[in-house]
Subunit: 245 residues, 2 copies
């Protein structure tokens, strides 16, 4: 009898082409599908809550799939972890009903971006952070972050190219924090356009450098013009922390 299984997945995206299965490239989705096929001898399609780009990490990606088996849902994390590379860990698994869909049921996502802010690049943990060597003004970044809150057309903060429905998204929270040489930017929203978190981070860094004033965020959003916002911060600093349901 077919059942729907939900997975919570942590991965180090350094050596992967991203979440989405592709020919001739090692993807997270592809590796999980391959592991399921090897164990259950069924061709299974896994549905993720959202795609993450090449080099982006996840602490709590979520995915579901349907499978014909008697094995209890809770056992899947153990079984699949035996097959998967250490780069990918199934943190938990359980059975759910067909009303749940990893992407369609999601109410939002929590992303974290990590910046290492010191003159010399870090060696330890550099695959999980963006090295910004110059002095940046954290309080200006914190002030700017407030201007992103709420519902806006985020056309100025996306890379054009992917098929998406609409450009209006709501940011629930955006927090900039500094501990030692590490700056973390935590953002929660109901959804994110392509590269939106990385462009917000690149724009906040422009604010930290003094290239953009905190209150200018309002007019950049209003412009809907990608050339007004900052650079796209590198993939490796980004983590999908949690999918909100």
């Amino acid at each position: 009898m077919s059942k729907r299984i939900v997975l919570t997945i942590e991965y180090d995206g350094t050596n992967y082409s991203g979440w989405q299965a592709q020919d001739n490239a090692k993807s997270i989705q592809g590796e999980i599908e391959k592991a399921i096929t090897e164990v259950f001898h069924q061709n299974i399609r896994v549905f993720g809550a959202g795609r993450t780009d090449a080099g982006v990490h996840a602490l709590g990606q979520c995915a579901h799939f349907d499978i014909d088996t008697d094995i209890p849902g809770e056992r899947f994390s153990y079984i699949l972890n035996q097959k998967l590379d250490d780069d990918i860990r199934i943190r938990s698994s359980f059975e759910t009903d067909e009303s749940f869909h990893a992407r369609k049921s999601a109410k939002g996502k929590h992303y974290r971006y990590v910046i290492y802010n010191a003159r010399i690049c870090n060696a330890i943990g550099r695959q999980y952070s963006w090295h910004v060597p110059y002095d940046i003004d954290i309080s200006a970044m914190q002030e700017a972050s407030g201007h992103f809150m709420g519902e806006h057309d985020f056309s100025a903060f996306r890379t054009v190219g992917s098929n998406i429905v609409g450009t209006v998204r709501t940011i629930y929270s955006l927090e900039v924090d500094k501990k030692g040489d590490y700056i973390t930017i935590d953002v929660k929203g109901n959804g994110f356009l392509y590269n939106m978190v990385r462009i917000i981070v690149g724009t906040l860094i422009y604010v930290g450098e003094g290239k953009i004033a905190p209150q200018d965020i309002d007019s950049i959003i209003a412009s809907r013009d990608r050339t007004k916002s900052g650079i796209t911060a590198p993939a490796k600093g980004l983590q999908l922390v949690e999918v909100l349901y």
Copy 2:
């Protein structure tokens, strides 16, 4: 004119055979010596504050070398970082006088050991932590840590085999802390026997599991018997944080 240069070095030891230069293996010392030779066309021997084993990391290893050059000491970090792999970063460099010796002048060292304590192994950061999947009693480990403090013969906490003078060492501080799923053990001492930090950590984990009582640490130390202490914790969880001068 010859001058003595001091380096502070951060490295991700994952892909190295350890600090010490060896034939047919990539070492931290070997890579730094190779970089100096490439830039200055002089065969230079670099003296580290201490060896770290294969897979052990450093935030603040220290080393010195003598070189005949007009280049100011402060420039070496920039010059060598251009040549070195991203795994190794020279955090600072400066000129000193010949009375300073990276190993002989050291008053002690600060090591940190990182444990990831959750049922499923971490994917992100797993190269910098030891995965301990079972429940452990942090307060028992904290109580046990006090028994290591001070001057003792640590014969029960070393791997025999290396040439060392004496087995008496002083531990200045030993702190066990838990944040989320991560346990950090910070230890400072005037010196450490071969594998001593990793055996102390393995023993503290036995205490956390209830295999050893906190107050038993005293008799284990007194026994000078390696078979009484715990396992040698894996290299990848260990970082040399700072050399104390």
